[in-house]
């Protein structure tokens, strides 16, 4: 009955909205752009229409259904599942991001890497909300209300969280791609070799900057898609015991990424408002090169001090700001999520280096408090001791 069907959908939408609202409150907790994010949430809901459109298209033109074609060629059921879930992963991850990317290209919404993550999360929440309506409706009408509660609880917590995590990773790499000019420049000063970027640039004929950008987007998509496919695959075989830590680890990593200082850095530059550097370009390059060298040697305290001084001379230099933010991130070992990450992915050498450096600097600062203070941008401190005119009266020898 059409009226009854509508009621089922309305109740399903209401049920799906409750967890969506809770997630929304959690996501909006620390943000000021609430209206914008509500618009992105709505965009995420509407993006489900793209999946329907694709499905509709493939129904009419089955010759374009690559997944169906591949599954027809392979008899192994597990391989068929993998193909299906990879296809679902690619489709959903691309679709979830569509609204954010289109809106950003028109209105330049994304100013920081964290913006990119945050908007991706909100868009994914909208998508997940719409998807949950159909799942709740489907389970309710096909399996029965008795089975609905467990599925509803699981989808509301874990599946929604998983959707957010996958998109969050994609958002992170999209943010890096968007600000690739500065990030690649900084990598160059650290001396990082971008081998894959070089190969991609040579193969496609793209400029290296564009190749780096494409590489980051591809990396984000592959991670999101891979995680999504793995999640679906585990669920297919009821591996809940693996799914729960899988989602939790993803959550902690994403929380860590969102807390990084470098992620908060506003990377958009207004050329009209940019203040000119008071240091000669070649001299400034020597200092930035030194910051890169010390960053590579994990001398983060020294990098931080150099950046503080250099920013007094060139306050809008994004490369220096990035170095500073990343040096702080590296030293922030009090962060609980960093500790969890360190337990998950221990890098003993780096941890010991930071701990040793902090101890040394604290000792040094206690011994000589003036070293800990940053100098003001005054003219070069050339010392001028007073030399007595009549040196014969003095006992020193030259």
């Amino acid at each position: 009955m059409p009226g009854g069907e509508f009621s089922y959908y309305a109740i399903s939408a209401l049920l799906a909205f409750i967890p969506a609202l809770i997630w929304m409150l959690l996501l909006f907790k620390r943000t000021k752009k609430k209206r914008l994010q509500i618009a992105i949430f709505m965009g995420g809901i509407l993006s489900v229409a793209l999946v329907f459109a694709l499905q509709y298209f493939l129904n009419f033109f089955p010759q374009f259904d690559i997944v169906n074609f591949l599954q027809g060629q392979i008899t192994n059921q597990n391989v068929n599942y993998i193909i299906l879930f990879i296809a679902v992963g690619i489709t959903e991850e691309l679709v979830k991001q569509t609204f954010v990317r289109v809106a950003d290209s028109k209105f330049l919404l994304i100013e920081t890497i964290n913006d990119s993550i945050q908007f991706s999360l909100v868009s994914a929440l909208g998508f997940s909300f719409a998807e949950n309506i159909f799942y709740i409706y489907s389970i309710w009408t096909n399996v029965g209300i008795q089975q609905l509660f467990v599925a509803y609880a699981f989808r509301s917590i874990f599946t929604t969280c998983a959707h957010l995590i996958f998109s969050g990773f994609f958002g992170y790499y999209y943010g890096i791609a968007k600000f690739s000019l500065n990030i690649r420049e900084q990598s160059r000063w650290i001396g990082k070799k971008l081998i894959f970027t070089d190969i991609l640039s040579k193969l496609t004929g793209m400029p290296r900057s564009q190749a780096y950008k494409e590489q980051m987007i591809l990396k984000g998509l592959l991670i999101a898609m891979g995680l999504h496919a793995a999640f679906d695959f585990l669920l297919q075989f009821n591996q809940i015991i693996v799914v729960v830590p899988f989602v939790l680890i993803g959550y902690f990593i994403l929380r860590h990424l969102l807390k990084r200082k470098a992620g908060h850095l506003i990377m958009v530059t207004d050329v009209d408002e940019q203040r000119a550097s008071t240091m000669a370009k070649t001299d400034e390059e020597v200092v930035i090169e030194l910051a890169g060298m010390w960053f590579k040697e994990k001398r983060y305290v020294d990098v931080l001090h150099i950046c503080e001084r250099l920013l007094q001379r060139d306050p809008d230099n994004k490369i220096v700001q990035l170095f500073k933010a990343q040096a702080i991130d590296k030293m922030d070992n009090k962060n609980v999520y960093s500790k969890i990450l360190k337990n998950l992915f221990p890098n003993k050498e780096e941890r010991e280096s930071i701990e040793k450096m902090i101890k040394e600097k604290t000792k040094e600062a206690k011994k000589n408090p003036t070293l800990a203070e940053l100098p003001k941008p005054t003219p070069a401190p050339v010392a001028t001791p007073s030399i007595p005119k009549d040196t014969s009266k003095d006992t020193y020898k030259l």
Partner: protein, 133 residues
């Protein structure tokens, strides 16, 4: 390879056991020569691990790259460990600017003339001696 010359000259010390030298740099310290030339200074430090007093005369040093600044901090560390001292004399404004931003002028004092540098370096241990600003 960019041209750079380093000449080392002994100067009379004021106290017993003190070894004082002027190290004069001419040219440009860059990637092509810095590793090679740094060895000269390391050799001096190795020969005189204790009480080494060095004046780095930068009057004719036109450019120094990041690596050479890295070496400079290392020389400072090694000489300070051996209870010695290191000062810079007559550095050009561009080099002084870099050293200031890097923070090295807080560790190594810079002087306008060689006489001032000598006076400050060798007099610092004498009570009541003038301290650099």
């Amino acid at each position: 390879m960019t041209q750079v010359n380093i000449t080392i000259e002994d100067i009379p010390a004021t106290t017993q056991g003190q070894i004082a030298k002027i190290v004069k740099f001419q040219g440009q310290l860059d990637e092509s020569n810095v590793d090679e030339k740094a060895k000269t200074i390391y050799a001096v430090i190795e020969q005189n691990p204790q009480n080494l007093y060095l004046i780095l005369d930068f009057e004719e040093l036109e450019y120094m790259n990041s690596k050479s600044i890295g070496y400079l901090t290392d020389w400072y560390g090694k000489i300070s460990e051996g209870k010695g001292k290191i000062v810079i004399a007559k550095a050009r404004s561009n080099i002084l600017d870099i050293l200031q931003v890097v923070g090295l002028t807080q560790l190594i004092n810079c002087y306008n003339t060689l006489d001032e540098a000598k006076f400050a370096l060798l007099r610092q241990d004498t009570p009541g001696a003038a301290q650099p600003q």
